[in-house]
Symmetry: C2
Subunit: 542 residues, 2 copies
Amino acid sequence: MKVIITGGFGFLGLHLCKRILAVGELIGADESAHVVRKLVLFDAGSPPKDMPRDSRIEVRVGDITNADEVKSLVDEDGIVIFHLASVMSGQGEKDFDICWRVNVEGTRNLLEPCRGRHGCKFVFASSGACFGERSDGPETDTTKLLPHTSYGMTKACMELVINDFTRRGFVDGRVARLPTVIPRPEPNSGLPAAFSDILRQPLKGEPAVLRLKPDMKHAVCGFRVLVRNLIHLANLPAAAFAESIDRCMNMPSLSVTLQDLAESLLKIVKDPSKLGSITYEPDAELCGKLSTFHKNMDATRARALGLMCDSSAAAIAADFAAEYVDPLLLKPVVEIYEEPRHWLAFSNEHVRVFRVENPPGDTTLMHVHRVDSLYFFFTAAQVQGTKLHEEPKDDILSCGEVRYGDHGNCLLTHKIYNKGPPVMMCLDVELAGFQNTQTDGAAAKRPRTEAANLPTGLRLTKERPGARVHDLDLAAGTSWAGRIPFARALFVVHRGAHVRGELGDRLLKPGDVFFRDGPIDMKLEVLGKRRDVAIWVVELLY
Amino acid sequence: MKVIITGGFGFLGLHLCKRILAVGELIGADESAHVVRKLVLFDAGSPPKDMPRDSRIEVRVGDITNADEVKSLVDEDGIVIFHLASVMSGQGEKDFDICWRVNVEGTRNLLEPCRGRHGCKFVFASSGACFGERSDGPETDTTKLLPHTSYGMTKACMELVINDFTRRGFVDGRVARLPTVIPRPEPNSGLPAAFSDILRQPLKGEPAVLRLKPDMKHAVCGFRVLVRNLIHLANLPAAAFAESIDRCMNMPSLSVTLQDLAESLLKIVKDPSKLGSITYEPDAELCGKLSTFHKNMDATRARALGLMCDSSAAAIAADFAAEYVDPLLLKPVVEIYEEPRHWLAFSNEHVRVFRVENPPGDTTLMHVHRVDSLYFFFTAAQVQGTKLHEEPKDDILSCGEVRYGDHGNCLLTHKIYNKGPPVMMCLDVELAGFQNTQTDGAAAKRPRTEAANLPTGLRLTKERPGARVHDLDLAAGTSWAGRIPFARALFVVHRGAHVRGELGDRLLKPGDVFFRDGPIDMKLEVLGKRRDVAIWVVELLY
């Protein structure tokens, strides 16, 4: 498979490139994985000094407004294109024409040749700037686009064009409406740059002088989660979007103020006195402009499709510090909420579910597990775990494996290195409601609860003080009905398909979770003929 | 002033042309009226045989996709452009490229040269097709645009571009999102053509065979009201749009079914047996497609800006019959609701307010007034009134004149011919709540109600059994406060300005009406230094 990343020399482009190469494969139009044979980085600028060295990379310096040049890139079927190249907001306001040429005509130049090919996927980076100024609530996937910049206008136009190209079958488009991605490792002149400056500068021990007010909300996300989400978006089957003609959606983001980000630094740095100073010198005009930017982007649709969100501003800051500044600045151990590869996927008073994804070659920060957890593994991966003050130990994870961690009695503080493809992917289900009994180690001695009468098909596979795990396997084309007698249950999807019934009319994907109070009269119909469904039904014993 | 109409040889273009030439002037960027010196009809087709003969018309056969050709049209400052030329939905689905070239690049060709000129206004015909298929309620001005056709996509893109051009000061754009304009005098192949066929064919005595179901809702308007609204939109001061960056709005429309239209014919034709037959042969695919079209377009913003709506489907049918078929088919007298120059502007249980606009050279249908009415005149016009079975009589109307019609005791059945510029414009305020007392002619004998203590500034100018009319004149830059002691009052704006207070923070325009239950503690601040405000305060004595 050939992959093209435009704007490939940029911050996001390079991170995306590295991540794709580390994983080594993407899902094609046929819904199966294809090895990435060639990855073209197309950009108008000069290749960066730290360009990754990999024989699969082809560097192409070129002009997106040159139709012939761009056409020559799309020289085979089934290419996956990540179109990130763009004139940004500030330049667009200075020069309308270049904004139109690059963002509209350039995008069209890249879309056009896809019409002559089969099975090309086109992932486009749109922007929250499409929304313009809004006073009323969060920007949702159904909020009217009313941009206040030429940049936002061109992005909104391309959303419309890509929807139409997809509807007509010219290309398989997926559009990610991006919040502000922070922190950029280098200063830039953009208005939302303050949201990067406030993390980068103090972490580098340099002063941050901010021209915005500390209490202005702005939608942001970390670069790691965004790169992960762009790949996830590319990998989704086309059927996942079938509910709507709209292929565009808000990316998950945090709505934060500069103040929030400043405070997040204190949660992760060892010695706050080493941080550079933060000064606010608000400029009325700039504050006025920022108020026209995305403040709070609702990403319900993206979340339902499995796109993730940073768990906290601290996680974004910690991730940046570990990679770009000096890891020794950080506290030696961070909380799970602050570990950038742990994403809070679901939480209520009973459970907190983190989705953990660690790409090949990557290492989590040293983090602490304080609550008894069930771990569900979705990939076969070779990892190296290192507990605090201990030597690394190899571990082999199996797809479908379920483990239990008795952290309520014994904290687990560790980091995980993923030795090679694939991405290590697991769910960490914290049994939050199980905490109360553990102050004196009583959990382990908890009397065994009698197993209730299980309906046919449900098979107990693991039992621990706080929970029992049951398997439910359903073949393609079959349906199942039964009364699940549990007072509280968490359904964790291991293998997914399109289903109809108690869990909705939807495409289940590995890692999807559903919480239900019981007993549950459950019906589940597995649509289609190709895919089986496997679900872990977790009975919560508290 | 120079005016350009693209798509000028089309049905709408020619009607717009005739109406502009009859009125003879448009409001320029300086907010004053300018004589239309030249009107360019630009179109790719052949000039029609019935091209109006007028020395002001310049016919230009040309190609909107030829940038140089289009640029040569925009050769002076202060041009008012009505851009109607477009590839329509059906052709756009067959050929994406021509749809993009004409609708996007062609529009850009016309917008570009405006950047180099001063004070050009750009009125663009967008379409309800921008909305695509929606199941949830009416399409409003804040509904997300999610077109299901390439045609709709290109229109939605141009809305974004025109907003941005306007924001940047490149042009003064105003975008009318059109419903389906009916009835077209000639059959066409478009899907919503059925909504024209069902009126035209029976009125011509020919069969209508409809491929759609009779109960499918669709948003329509008559061509006369649309032409009027496009001119009104062009004439509005830029300040009227200041509340939002969005220059695009739904045009007022009726949400009707084919059945509704068929029934409307029975209200206006003399002898239903002369109508051609109507047969429904619904085609599932076509019905499916129509369900993706605009069903019910909410035009709250346009209405607040003074844009009007046909009072009924019958009015649309009657208008068409009078102009295109055989006026003798019609009943000799129609109700006000069915008279196409009377538009219902406001109604409640107490009053029904019709806005009457009759352009120069135009004659209303013979219609009947059954309810006592106050008439407020907004233009100095020379007209000829013809009562049923009587000879025509000349009449001179003054701007600011108020008349009373005692129709409750004595029906008025008449038609009005406007002898020359300007447009005859008046409000017909039916005193609906005054009806009850009139069966025995008691209205005229109604005992005189004592006038309440009037606050300073309010001056009684007319008294009739059902109502008293008071003047309230406020100079620019002043403010006024007082207690208006009436139990029910209708405020009719004679001369407008931007005001703040009881009537909102808004630009008042001649003919705006506001109903209030009293007593009313009223404050009104007239903003700006140029414009005075004059309001008729109508006390309803029932």
